[in-house]
Symmetry: C2
Subunit: 151 residues, 2 copies
Amino acid sequence: MDGSDAAALTDDVGFLLSRASGLVVRASNASLAGHGLRVRSYSVLLLAADSVEGVSQRELADVLGLDPSQVVLLVDELVTAGLVERRPSPTDRRTRLVVATDAGRVARARAGVDVDATLTRQLAELTAGEQLLLRELLTRLVAGGRAAVRV
Amino acid sequence: MDGSDAAALTDDVGFLLSRASGLVVRASNASLAGHGLRVRSYSVLLLAADSVEGVSQRELADVLGLDPSQVVLLVDELVTAGLVERRPSPTDRRTRLVVATDAGRVARARAGVDVDATLTRQLAELTAGEQLLLRELLTRLVAGGRAAVRV
């Protein structure tokens, strides 16, 4: 294989997205391991802990881009660890919300410090302005992709 | 959950990378399904088919960011499908190269048309200049991440 063969693939934006995401997820999982969390369970905990009333499993699936069945497993795992609870919604008794426990809020804060530091290191290749630009481009890609899935 | 809770997570570049990559991989897998391929097996086939002499499993693992054991399984799958073969390297008999068969080159070309069209649709949210910019930012992120892993 000469350099140009690999270059054809590594210039592909889809490939680059997958590689960049893989590197960030792997590093984040490593920094979350000491907290008994992985990127997906941490994301669920974060959304539950940072919300005032809690978050429904449907909202979690939508924001995280996961199947509802995957969300149920992640929430079950966090319930077992004592980090979240399922409670009836105060505004709609038919909906159950995922709410962080006190232990969950502490775990979210501690894990957040480590995972944020890891991401900061990973992004250090880019200037602050470039990081903002990357965020904007990715936000538009994701918004477009979500809209397409819904059609 | 109000909008600002989800916004805190969805502004996170690590989260956006994971979501954007997930959307592209899912759409690509859908367009590859008719060819009996998935993104990872297609990437292996592409690297083998576009190379003159073939590619070693070590190179595949390095370029694709996969464990060597994952690469062995992907190559086994493509061998079973008759799309690649393992052959001794002409320059180093101790190294075996993954080489595309004639059927593999045809499959790579046909699948490539579909998967490239899918990616073009996914990236249509961005102008051509923005796509180049995104590619450059991701290339630097990936290069930095790979260097960090090697330290």
